[in-house]
């Protein structure tokens, strides 16, 4: 079995070479590992490698194929890359090139004030919307000059993490 994984800025191919009971031999790119690995609970593994003991928690993130991984000293975000996620990634990148002027909520919260409506022309630095979360209010400003295309939320509405708040189009200069 072989998988491509991504951790921090590194992509690597992990491939199972041999398994005998607990002893698993596998390669991470061109590095060969012979380890003793046992699943000790629903989301935890005990790995022994050259005498070193690693207790690793692998917890599913809400996005499929994304995992939070904890070792004693560090935390990692690991993604299993397959064709589906590679496709999604390339689509997201192309979208960003076309239009960088969307405001998305960085955390769950409540819309306190909306300053603009579709059709308004905004300048860089102009306040667009205020979100409240955990007793803190955050104001979001336009990144560059543009024309408000959409404001899919309204004052008083509760929003999720990464929810679309304001969409701004570039103004087509004559």
């Amino acid at each position: 079995m072989e998988l491509e994984l991504k951790v921090n800025n590194r992509n690597a191919i992990v491939k199972e070479v041999k398994r005998e009971g607990n002893i698993l031999t596998l390669s991470v790119d061109d590095e060969l590992y012979e380890i003793d690995i046992v699943k000790v609970s629903n989301q935890e593994f005990s790995i022994l490698y050259q005498g070193r003991s690693f207790n690793v928690e692998v917890i599913e993130n809400k996005e499929p194929k994304h995992f939070h991984v904890n070792t004693l000293y560090f935390k990692f975000d690991v993604e299993v890359l397959d064709n589906e996620s590679r496709y999604r990634q390339s689509r997201m990148q192309s979208k960003q090139v076309l239009n960088d002027n969307t405001i998305r909520s960085p955390m769950p919260g409540k819309v306190v004030r909306v300053f603009v409506k579709p059709g308004d022309i905004v300048e860089a630095g102009q306040p667009l919307i205020v979100l409240s979360a955990m007793k803190m209010e955050s104001e979001f400003k336009a990144g560059q000059r543009g024309i408000v295309k959409e404001v899919p939320v309204k004052e008083g509405e509760t929003v999720d993490n990464d929810q679309l708040l304001v969409v701004i189009d570039d103004i087509k200069e004559k």
């Binding site: 951790v7 928690e57 935390k75 007793k135």
Partner: protein
Amino acid sequence: MEQKPIKKVLVANRGEIAIRIMRSCREMGIDTVAVFSDADRTAMHVRYANEAYNIGPAPSSESYLSMEKIIATAKLSGADAIHPGYGFLSENSKFARRCREEGLLFIGPSPESIEMMGDKISARKKMIAAGVPVVPGTTEKVTSEAEAARYIKEIGLPVMIKASAGGGGKGMRLVKKESQIASSLRAARSEAKTAFGDDALYIEKYVDSPHHIEFQILSDKYGNTVHLFERECSVQRRHQKVVEETPSPIMTPEIRERMGAYAVAAANACQYEGAGTIEFIVDDKLNFYFLEMNTRLQVEHPITERVVGVDLVKEQIRIAEGFELPFKQEDLKQSGHAIECRIYAEDTDNNFMPNPGTITHITEPFGFGVRCDGYVYEGYTIPIYYDSLISKLIVWGRTREDAIERMRRALYEYKITGIKTTIRFLERIMDTPDFRNGQYNTHFIEKNSDFLLADGICDRKCEDMAMIATFAQYISRLEDSKKANAAPSAKKETNWKRQLRKFTSRI
């Protein structure tokens, strides 16, 4: 005075403090009543209490701050006392008065004491009258810019402009230059008006390299007051405490005795009853000045409990019941060293932005000298309406060095997954030389921010292990789902079922 044992306590709070209070109540055989907003239906304090009642929609103003709803719930449940915790209504004299009017025991000081100490200007005046050293400053509220300029000339720059009705770092402005006076006054006044509804200001000399050291006191209804020594709270970020410890590494026995005596005098000056805290500001030469009094139990009270061996919530309840304090000042001693780290759901890489969300996994630290006061659990979603404190990690060690190493160990063991927390930031604090040497003041976090926010360097093997474990987990999940999707085998009819059908068809 007679003793009136309390049978049922309504805890007018939520989160970790609500559970902490209920634990002591359980030990005393007192029934507990939880109140919860719509956002807190699945909160731990609701699940822990004997009884629980909904008091309204999520926003605090419509639930946890609603005095009448809380009092009505107390009556409905037959509670004879209300414990307000910290924050919310704990220092609201109007609420304390309403409880008294309704025949409910407010576990805390009288409305009069709360008012006296809640108004910072009147508190300063009271302390001066009691002979307690205060930060040089005004004793009347400042009404005009001209007046402010005059006072500032007398006191000498730099000064702090503060809100009289204030607290928690709001409505405060540091003024270093004459040119800043007018704008700082305006800003402080407007912030005070918004946050506290009262724009009265006073001015204090700004103490350089300040240490924030506070003393815990307990007073009973018979005029007995003791202090339970100090807490060093100078590790702060934007005036919010992050790490507290006791004993203070800069304290000497002689200064401790003097400050303790003043703390007791301060409590007596306002006929205090219950648990309270006197906050002092201390400079590098160990000159100390009264800053303010908090007429409630504080977040960091567990470190005092650990080092003195006293359950402060139980003492609060016994004082409210009319019992005399079971100890005298000479009975109290500090033993060993305790440190508390507050764990917030904040993204330290993103300016400490609050990070509510769902907890997907928790591993808590255990072992000798470790106490974890929290309220979150696996699967719980932290609501966005309240503050982001999710737990307190308190450790004890025989020496300060032991305590620091134990805190490091416990922080590494503490894994909360699904949201971002300040745990890693706290680990870095334990590694910072200034903290380890005990040479720090309230500028500590600012001064060391580069070190504190630096990433750890993990070795490649460790990264590979993370990938290997993920590989194993992914495969394990694939195998699980294959088994679940396997075609179910044809159900074999059992004799028992056949007999049952024969039997039922006969009816």
